[in-house]
Point group: C2
Chain length 458, copies 2
């Protein structure tokens, strides 16, 4: 190139540099905007895709023992959800004893009413079955709902050659939509063909709605002549305030036990377990707890200390499953035990404990990791339980926050704030009036709970 | 320059262009990040600074009439908030009749207890006063709290030369923190000097905590020989479930009326107004409704039709203020009337209405503009009110959603979805069992409610 050419190129390049510099500035705005939008879209998409598991979930589904005489299967029926198993079947051997506890909601679902009437029948020695679908609760669906239950349980009875009176069903999901029961009956042959003793985890999965993890628990008891096993699965995440009964829970054992005894054990342990949890104070129309005892353990009929040990183990499994439901509370980041002691009566202990556990202001403070104990005071005050300002005390774990009518002078906000960072909290209120007590378990109320429930059907 | 020089410069420039291009790419990341952070910081700061007014707020504070014998003042005392008025004083002329309704919380505040004991005293003809601070509720503050009330009311009594037994006080804000009462007593002289007949709006402002607008309402009644005026102000936004009493509300009238009659009118209208609202089912420790009648109207003693008209006007003012509290419900975007008719008893109507109005699942569905009527079914079911699935009906406004135990075949999701877009909604449940009814007013439950209450003290 000539000098002139080089000069021209240099000038052109200088211009290019200026222009690039200008472009750099001018481009920054739209680039930032475009990148920002892309990033937030990606984050939103990722959030949706990830369906994050509750931070309070157990590390993994526990290893549950096979229970002799109990088989499970699950299939994709497309009741509402796509690309996942949404119907599960349990086959129970002849001679199985059944017991149950149900919601006392006046608007309870068709399957709950059906289960209740069937449990009232004389048991007989025929086999039994449980069929459960997720995605639709078949509640407030009128006569069509009753027909759906008859169709589903009838199809199972026919396929398994057992009386329809021994087929129990549950449905969980949206309320008020007719259940597309033909999608379920069409899959009954597949379900029967797939029955296996070791498929309990798959069955737990098939029941999930807004649950972020399947829930299972087990225990063993040494009986006379052999080991007795208990295994249970549960679903539940929102609409949890089983003050009258419980969520969808299925318990299995190979124990030899009469139906009446089984029912008694179940009923008297439900208050301290499933009836002591609340996520959002909303009681479901579908709450069902069914227990099946196949009697196929090598151990003989239970009595005395074995029966006592069995009841303790059963209560442990119930407690474990109940807490797993709270751990999967919609949007939950904290598991909270509210323990009320020193109440004047059992009813007062329950009133105070549930008032605290259901208070939106207490639950949002916990979500914000704010040791706002004044809201606990307000919840006690509104509960209707007998309380004397100057006699009650409030503790976070072992930290004495307030007593004698005002804040403990030793207590510091920093102590409270540090405690609130924990994922599992104990709020302990002693009313100082009597000897009655009650523990209930709840979770925090987060923006995520609102998001989940503002969007659930869309 | 020589050809070599130009060549060198051109090469250097080419290198510079490459480097600039590289930089442009390399810089994009950090720039985007920095800009993104700056933008989100700015948005957060703007949100905090804006403190947006509830979308359900009235267009403006109403023009309230001056009430003869009532003067107001407000000052900045710095109890908790800075740069805003946080203490207000009302002076009431000699001969004023006082009446009140209070929270029945067992953990109610020191000032509530003090008001209750003073209203029980023989009235006398001395003047009276009301002093209110925001930022600290003086609840659960033990003997120090009682001393604070004595100091504040004592300072006002001395400054106005009236008996301390005629000075009523309220405190609203954080629970469990000692009230820095010296900040208030130090400002009493300024308050007294600032008293004016036309400063009621300023007084309403001074009471606000998480409120986004001041609340006022008024009415006039034609009496014998002159007009009777009623004016009222209220505060309230969260911890609203005055099932037993109400929020901070002050009503003033120039009517000539005996304290006992005034108390009767107040008490029998509180159930249908303040006791029929709920934001979050949490009853406050400070709920106070005080009414003062100065008797300075030209109208004579009220009786017969005038007293009836006065009661109707008073109820109207109470209803208006109660709804303003719900309109300012924390995070609210919808005002919802839950109307239950056809209940077997008044108690059942209230149970069903409050169960729906307090259901987090119903309230989050409304926030999401989702016509999820199944959750209304569940709330009725859990309420404890007598209900028959096949007899009850559910309406959104005039739209029949469900009856006879299932969805109305004419109802479409689109009809429901369109209705839910409105800012003011009517959920009407007829239980089909009797003639009892109850309306309660509530708002939706939004992520903003959670944000406000997870952060309130920080």
């Amino acid at each position: 190139m000539t000098k002139t050419d080089w000069k021209a190129e240099a000038k052109a390049l200088k211009k290019k540099v200026r222009k690039l510099k200008d472009n750099l500035t001018a481009a920054a705005g739209p680039v930032v905007e475009a990148v920002g939008e892309a990033v937030s879209d990606a984050v939103a998409a990722a959030k949706k895709a990830l369906k994050p598991v509750s931070p309070l979930a157990p590390a993994s589904f526990p290893a549950l023992p096979a229970i002799r005489g109990v088989e499970f299967a699950a299939v994709e029926a497309g009741v509402r959800y796509q690309n996942r198993k949404d119907v599960m079947l349990v086959r129970l051997a002849p001679g199985t004893a059944m017991a149950g506890v149900f919601t006392r909601s006046t608007t309870r679902s068709a399957c709950v009413r059906d289960c209740q009437s069937k449990l009232a029948l004389k048991a007989g020695t025929a086999g039994a079955a449980i069929i459960v679908n997720s995605g639709n609760s078949n509640a407030f669906t009128g006569k069509i709902g009753d027909q759906a239950v008859a169709a589903v349980t009838g199809a199972v009875a026919e396929a398994l050659a057992i009386p329809a009176g021994r087929v129990f069903s549950s449905s969980t999901g949206v309320i008020g939509e007719p259940l597309p029961f033909d999608k379920i009956t069409a899959k009954v042959p597949d379900l029967v063909a797939a029955l296996r003793e070791d498929a309990i985890e798959m069955a737990a999965h098939a029941m999930m709605t807004t649950d972020t993890f399947p829930k299972g628990a087990a225990a063993t008891v040494q009986g006379d002549g052999g080991v007795i096993h208990i295994a249970g699965i549960a679903k539940g995440s929102g609409m949890i305030a089983p003050d009258m009964a419980t969520m969808l829970v299925y318990l299995f054992t190979d124990a030899k036990i009469a139906p009446a005894t089984l029912q008694k054990l179940l009923s008297r342990n439900v208050d301290a377990t499933f009836n002591s949890i609340t996520v959002d104070s909303d009681t479901s129309t579908s709450d069902t707890l069914l227990m099946a005892a196949t009697g196929q353990s090598d151990a003989g009929e239970m009595k005395g200390p074995v029966l006592k040990a069995f009841e303790a183990a059963l209560k442990g499994v119930m407690h474990d499953l109940a807490l797993q439901v709270v751990r999967d509370g919609e949007g939950a980041t904290k598991l909270v035990e509210v323990r009320v002691t020193g109440a004047a009566s059992d009813a007062d202990a329950a009133k105070a404990a549930f008032a605290i556990a259901n208070s939106p202001l207490v639950k949002t403070a916990i979500a914000g990791q704010d040791p706002n104990w004044g809201r606990i005071v307000a919840a006690i005050g509104k509960s209707g339980a007998a309380a004397e300002r100057d006699l009650l005390s409030i503790r976070f774990g072992d930290i004495l926050v307030a007593e004698k009518g005002w804040r403990n002078p030793e207590y510091t906000e920093q102590d409270g704030a540090d405690y609130m960072l924990r994922p599992e909290l104990l709020i302990h209120v002693d009313l100082g009036l009597g000897r009655a007590k009650r523990s209930v378990w709840t979770c925090d109320l987060t923006s995520r709970y609102v998001e989940i429930n503002a969007d659930y059907r869309s």
